[in-house]
């Protein structure tokens, strides 16, 4: 169905893709895995034609879909063969109502009104969107928006669907909603699908094959069972199977449960490490009965929570449950209509910027929002000045968090992981007692995530209070001491991570699912107790 032949792509004197060939059968689901910068998106964009027409650069080699060569047809015709779904579909939507958005592509291609009507109805049913057809897109959840994007892509009946990190902004349930839909489309329509994804555990069990990309090694296509053995960081299921002495890597929780029986016996009688925070530990940040209004809606309803010294707390919940709102309330960006948010005895909304910065280090969802200068060295100097610390403090921290960054570089030219590193260095420079992070693992590859885990654990060990809003269950299971689960602006569960996460179906990490009824949170905990 798809044939890439000897693709080489140069962009401003750097070779991004070198002599790359790939052939994919009809009705296949291919997963592309690899670290940031390994060229996942570039390959997708070569297939959908954005490279080189939209991005610039020079491309050689040929792309064929269903026997049609890209070079022989117009961009408009090509867009009927290949459809693309991206990370944040909301940025690419043009209509405000679901039904109109789905019809947009057909309108552009001049379909007759009868044909459009019929196809929109079909697609609405296919993706289970008929109840939502009149809804405003902005009011939908992230998973629903992603389904609308897929529906809009399918109306032109493409032969190929490309997905670029489609679930990186979604919680586990919404991600599963998206991928199980895609899986069904592959089976029912014979659609050929290529997905680039960092969190491969979400999709690998649906994949027929995996393309492994690496900045150093040549790209290689492997069967999923084999591919998991070759990943730089093995998925949790593979690690558990290895610990259980199994020969083959399971791809689903169900299969894993069958092979981990020896491991379960080894763990029988052992207690999982309880990361309990003593009740005597001083409370550093506290919200009590806080309510926040926006646009006449109460988006936080009488929320109370305590954050103790040296603890890591994960704020979890669906997209739009109020995680970010709570973070903003903690630092006084939003004023409470009732109740209060207090940091170290001071009311958050009354803090001056200079005071705030000495109390709290903040890493926003888009780390680049923090950057003010054109060069890394200036950025670090500004940071030292704003925090009244010795010159060079921020630079030294950056060297520790993210080595091998050039001083003369522009902060915006950094990779996702390096940006996070710089934001963390800025946040930690004043040695603040509180560290706040908003979705820090979004778009981060597995190596970057490991580094982040290391940094946050060290920060908590230093006595800092770490609070992070995240829907990354595995991250929470790995490092959180406490978990607060929000739903529609209310706290629905709060307590030690071991209690909250293992009791939840939505937020149970993979290790818990595999080893249930034993209550283990992460592979590292299991490994530590086996040694």
């Amino acid at each position: 169905m798809i044939q890439l032949n000897k693709i080489t792509f140069n962009y401003s004197h750097t070779e991004v893709v070198h002599d790359f060939s790939l052939s994919i059968q009809e009705g296949e689901l291919l997963l592309i895995a690899g670290p940031t910068g390994s060229g996942k998106s570039t390959i997708l964009n070569v297939i959908n034609g954005l490279v080189p027409e939209f991005t610039g650069g020079s491309l050689s080699g040929s792309v064929r879909i269903d026997g049609v060569d890209r070079a022989t047809v117009s961009a408009s015709e090509w867009s009927r063969l290949v459809a693309t779904v991206t990370q944040s579909p909301i940025d690419g939507f043009v209509a405000d109502v679901v039904e109109d958005e789905i019809a947009f592509g057909m309108e552009t291609h001049g379909f007759s009104p009868d044909a459009m009507r019929q196809r929109v109805e079909e697609v609405l049913d296919l993706l289970g969107l008929s109840d939502l057809r009149n809804r405003h897109i902005a009011t939908l959840s992230g998973g629903q928006q992603q389904r609308v994007a897929i529906a809009a892509a399918l109306t032109l009946q493409p032969r190929v669907l490309l997905m670029d990190e489609p679930t990186s902004a979604l919680d586990p349930t919404a991600a599963d909603e998206v991928f199980s839909t895609v899986h069904r489309l592959v089976h029912d329509l014979g659609l050929t699908v290529i997905v680039a994804e960092h969190r491969i555990e979400r999709i690998i069990h649906y994949a027929d094959s995996v393309l492994l990309l690496d900045t150093e090694k040549a790209p290689i296509v492997l069967a999923p069972e084999v591919a998991v053995e070759h990943l730089p960081t093995a998925p949790a299921l593979t690690q558990l199977a290895r610990l259980a002495g199994a020969e083959k890597s399971p791809l689903t929780v169900r299969d894993a449960r069958k092979v981990v029986e020896p491991l379960r016996q080894l763990l029988q009688g052992q207690t999982p490490p309880l990361r309990l925070i003593s009740t005597e530990t001083p409370v550093v940040v506290e919200v009590s009965n806080a309510s926040v209004m926006r646009d006449r809606n109460e988006i936080l309803k009488s929320v109370s929570a305590q954050f103790k010294r040296g603890s890591i707390t994960a704020l979890m919940g669906r997209n739009g449950a109020g995680k970010s709102t709570l973070l903003h309330t903690l630092i006084g960006d939003f004023e409470t209509v009732r109740g209060s948010a207090v940091i170290k005895g001071k009311v958050a909304s009354t803090l001056q910027p200079a005071e705030l910065v000495n109390l709290v280090g903040i890493v926003p969802q888009q780390p680049s929002d923090l950057f003010l200068c054109d060069r890394i060295s200036d950025e670090c100097r500004t940071s030292d000045k704003l925090r009244n610390v010795a010159a060079g403090t921020t630079r030294a921290l950056l060297a520790l968090l993210s080595p091998a960054i050039d001083d003369a570089q522009h902060p915006r030219d950094l990779s996702e992981g390096q940006r996070l590193g710089l934001a963390l260095a800025i946040a930690l420079a004043g040695n603040p007692p509180v560290l706040l992070l908003d979705e820090p693992t979004r778009g981060l590859d597995s190596a970057g995530k490991l580094k982040l885990i290391e940094i946050l654990t060290a920060a908590a060990a230093d006595g800092r209070t770490v609070i992070l809003a995240t829907h990354d269950v595995e991250l929470a299971a790995e490092i959180a001491d406490e978990v607060v689960v929000l739903s529609e602006g209310e706290v629905v569960a709060a307590g030690p991570a071991a209690d909250v996460l293992t009791a939840s179906t939505m937020f149970a990490p993979i290790t818990t699912k595999v080893l249930a009824p034993l209550r283990w949170l992460s592979v590292n905990d299991v490994r530590a107790s086996l040694n």
Partner: protein
């Protein structure tokens, strides 16, 4: 064919607003203006297509109140008083002779006060009526009602309109980020760094949108798009210039200018229709209830123009109010119910 049965045609709302504006101007009565402004507020309260649109209307309402206040202050502090019923004597300043026609302070009469109040309220009511319609008809629905040949120009406008709320969100996010770094929110250097950050995220967003449009087949040749944009902007500029000259009476400039701008618009339509292969999904269609909506203010305007009697006009406005309370079904309405 395939029209949506449950929606009011956007054009009906705009004709409604235009007729209402004519009625307000013709009536020139304080009570009628106030009633029309209230009617606009009621409409928004019931039919606004989003919370943001509602908020925009509230902002405009506040601005119009300020406008009335300014009108009253200017009339009574700087203009010569009308009538003879003096309410208050302010100390007045002697101005040089070359400033004849302007005074400062002096007597304030009830006639002057009422005149300014009436005048300000009339302008405010017209502004509010149009603001209300802008909050009711979402730009994407207006776009759907435009002729296909105007589509690409309309699309630009819609993207610009939907861009604004994103931009505002970016600004507040980035201002917060500056506070988190310990910066004072004011100051020139901070401002420039913030502007760069806002521009960067706006640019990112537009590149994402452009890429999405590209992969969905919305591809046009840049040359013809530029030509059409130029023609459109030229014709609009010319038309607004010529219409403004009408205030000095109809002159050859007005006639030639309007003719030229209409010719430019025709060229634009022609250039577009040669390329347009678009079709439209479930277009809004003019229904009897749209005629009813338009008929009410048109009738009111006609009655006032005929014998300047306000009672029948007030009755028609009451009819609008009743219809609103009963509720025209609209799409945004049904969407709100299902959500």
């Amino acid at each position: 064919m395939h029209s949506r049965p449950d929606s009011q045609h956007p054009a009906a709302w705009w004709v409604f607003a235009a007729a209402q504006a004519i009625a307000i101007t013709a009536a020139n009565a304080l009570g009628f203006s106030v009633a029309a402004a209230l009617c606009a507020a009621l409409l928004v309260n019931r039919f606004a297509y989003s919370e943001l649109a509602r908020r925009n209307f509230r902002l405009i309402a506040m601005a119009t109140l300020a406008l009335i206040g300014l009108r009253v202050i200017f009339q009574n502090l700087f203009g010569y008083p009308m009538g003879s019923h003096v309410i208050l004597h302010l100390p007045s300043a002697q101005l040089p002779s070359w400033l004849a026609g302007i005074r400062l302070g002096g007597a304030i009469t009830s006639e002057s006060l009422l005149f300014a109040l009436n005048d300000g309220t009339r302008i405010a009511a017209i502004a509010l009526t149009f603001a209300a319609i802008a909050s009711i008809t979402s730009p994407t629905r207006v776009l759907r009602a435009l002729p296909v040949s105007l589509h690409s120009a309309g699309m630009l406008l819609v993207i610009a309109v939907t861009f604004l709320p994103h931009l505002l969100a970016d600004v507040s996010r980035i201002r917060n980020a500056a506070r988190w770094r310990g910066q004072r929110v004011r100051g020139l250097r901070t401002l420039s760094a913030q502007l760069i950050n806002v521009a960067e995220s706006a640019l990112d967003r537009s590149v994402t949108l452009a890429a999405a449009l590209n992969t969905r087949g919305y591809i046009q040749s840049a040359g013809s798009a530029r030509l059409r944009a130029g023609l459109l902007i030229g014709s609009i500029l010319l038309l607004s210039f010529t219409t403004s000259t009408i205030t000095f009476g109809i002159s050859p400039v007005t006639v030639i200018g309007s003719g030229l701008s209409l010719a430019l618009m025709w060229m634009n339509l022609d250039a577009s229709s040669r390329e347009a292969t678009r079709t439209r999904y479930r277009p809004d269609q003019w229904a009897p209830r749209d005629t009813a909506l338009v008929a009410i203010p048109v009738a009111a305007a006609a009655i006032i123009a005929a014998d300047s009697s306000l009672w029948p006009a007030a009755a028609t406005l009451l009819a609008v109010a009743l219809a609103i309370l009963k509720g025209f079904p609209t799409r945004s309405n049904t969407a709100a119910v299902t959500s």
